[in-house]
C-alpha cells in the first residue's frame, strides 16, 4: 500500500488527467460546431453541400483516429511545419485538439442527423409554409428539436471522445494520462496492475456522470408530441 501511494508522490496523475479533460473540452466544442454545420449540409437542399457532408463523414468516420493524430504530428507539424502556437508543446496540444475535433465531428454529424429524423416532416413543412427559408427553419424549428432528440447519441460521442483523448499520445502530447501510465509502468513494473486499475478507474469516474447526465437530460428535454 505504501508502495502504491508513493506513486502519487513521484507522478502527478491528476495533472495528466487534467490534460485529457482539456483536450476533450476543446475538441468537444469544435466537434459540436463542425458536426452541426456538416449535419446542416447533409439535410440541405443543395446537392453539392450534401455531397460534401457525406464525403466528410465517410472519410473521417472510417479513418482510424491514431492515423489522424499521427498525421497531425508527423505530417502537419513535422513535415509541413504547421504550428498553431509559438511553444512546441502548446502547438502539439492544439494540433491534437484539431485532430480529435475533425474526427468526432463526423460522429456528431450523424448523431444530429439521427435527431433530425425524430422531427416529423410536418414541422419542416409548417416552417416553410409560414415563409421561413431553409436556414431560419433549421435554426428555429428543426435543430432545436433535433438536438433534444440527439442528446443520448451526442452523449455517446462525448464519452467516446473523452476516452479517445488518450490517443493524443500518438500526436506526441506526452503529458496526457495514457503517456504517463506508460512511463509509470516502465519505471514501476512491480505495480503494473494497480497502475492500470488506477487509470481505468480515473476514466470511469470521468465518464459515468456524463452518461447519467445525458440520460436525465434526454428525458427532461424530450419534445412532447
Amino acid at each position: 500500500m505504501e508502495n502504491y501511494l508513493s506513486l502519487f508522490e513521484t507522478y502527478d496523475v491528476p495533472a495528466a488527467f487534467w490534460v485529457n479533460i482539456q483536450l476533450s473540452f476543446w475538441a468537444a466544442i469544435f466537434a459540436l460546431v463542425i458536426g452541426t454545420v456538416l449535419a446542416l449540409f447533409r439535410i440541405s437542399p443543395i446537392p453539392s453541400l450534401q455531397w460534401f457532408g457525406a464525403a466528410y463523414v465517410n472519410i473521417f468516420r472510417n479513418t482510424p483516429l491514431t492515423i489522424i493524430l499521427a498525421f497531425g504530428f508527423l505530417g502537419l507539424f513535422s513535415v509541413m511545419q504547421v504550428s498553431l502556437a509559438g511553444d512546441l508543446n502548446a502547438s502539439l496540444f492544439r494540433i491534437a485538439i484539431v485532430g480529435l475535433a475533425l474526427y468526432h465531428a463526423a460522429f456528431v454529424c450523424e448523431a444530429i442527423r439521427s435527431g433530425v429524423n425524430t422531427v416529423p416532416l410536418g414541422q419542416a413543412e409548417a416552417a416553410r409554409a409560414i415563409g421561413l427559408g431553409f436556414l431560419p427553419a433549421a435554426r428555429l424549428v428543426i435543430l432545436p428539436q433535433a438536438f433534444r432528440g440527439a442528446i443520448a447519441p451526442l452523449g455517446n460521442v462525448l464519452i467516446a471522445l473523452i476516452k479517445n483523448s488518450t490517443v493524443a499520445a500518438a500526436g506526441s502530447v506526452a503529458t496526457e494520462s495514457s503517456s504517463l501510465m506508460k512511463t509509470m509502468i516502465e519505471f514501476r513494473s512491480d505495480l503494473v496492475i494497480p497502475i492500470f486499475l488506477t487509470f481505468a478507474l480515473g476514466f470511469v469516474i470521468l465518464v459515468i456522470p456524463i452518461g447519467l447526465l445525458t440520460t436525465w437530460a434526454s428525458r427532461k428535454l424530450a419534445v412532447a408530441r
Binding site: 410536418g122 409548417a126 416553410r128 409554409a129 409560414i130 415563409g131 421561413l132 424549428v141 408530441r225
Partner: protein, 236 residues
Amino acid sequence: MNKHFGELHVLRDINLDVARGEVVVVIGPSGSGKSTLCRAINRLETIDDGQIMIDGEVLPAEGKALAKLRADVGMVFQSFNLFAHKSILENVTLGPIKVKGMKGGEAKELAMSLLKRVGVDNQAQKLPAQLSGGQQQRVAIARALAMKPKVMLFDEPTSALDPEMINEVLDSMVALAKEGMTMIVVTHEMGFARKAADRVVFMADGQIMEEATPESFFTNPQSDRAKDFLGKILSH
C-alpha cells in the same frame, strides 16, 4: 398543370381559378389528388408542368422569392404541425417576428387577438402537446392568419380530429369565410361545403370532374363519378 408520382399521374390538366374572397371547397374520393393540389399551391409539392399564380405573381421554384410568396399563403395541415418545442403564443408570433420583422410586443398583441378570435387565448403559455386536437388546429389557423395571408389553404383540417372537436374548428373556418378570406378547403365535411362554400370542386383520378355551386352540386350532380361519390357518402 400536371404532376406525376413516378408512374402515377396524380394531377391531370388541372385548371382552377379562385377569385379574391371566394371560398372553394375541394371534395372527392381518397387518392383523387385533392390534397396534392392543395399542397402544390404553396409548392410543398412540385409540379411537372404548368404554373401557379398568386395575386398575379407566378409561384417561384425556390429560394427567397418562394419563401416570400409562401408567407402570403396560409396553410393549415391535417396533422396541425404546430412547432412542438414552442408555446402556443410563440407558434403564432414566430412568423410575424422572423419572416416579417415585426417587433416582439406588436407580434404578441396580434397573436393574442388572433388566439382570442379562435377561442384559445387562455392556453397561450402551454405547449402544443398539452392541448386537444381541436384546440391545436385552431391555433394552427391563428398561426397562418398571423401572416396576414392573401389566401388560406386547408388540407383536410378536420380529418385527424375526434368527432366532438370537428365543429369548433369548422366554426372558426366559417367565421373566416364570412369575413371575406379567400379560402381553398380540401375536406370531407359536406356540411361545411354547403354552409360556407361559394363553389364546390369535385375531383377524381387527378382531374377536376365538376365545378358548381354547393346548391346545384349536392342536389343535381352532373358527372357519374360525382353521383356515385355523393350516393356513397350521403346514404347514411
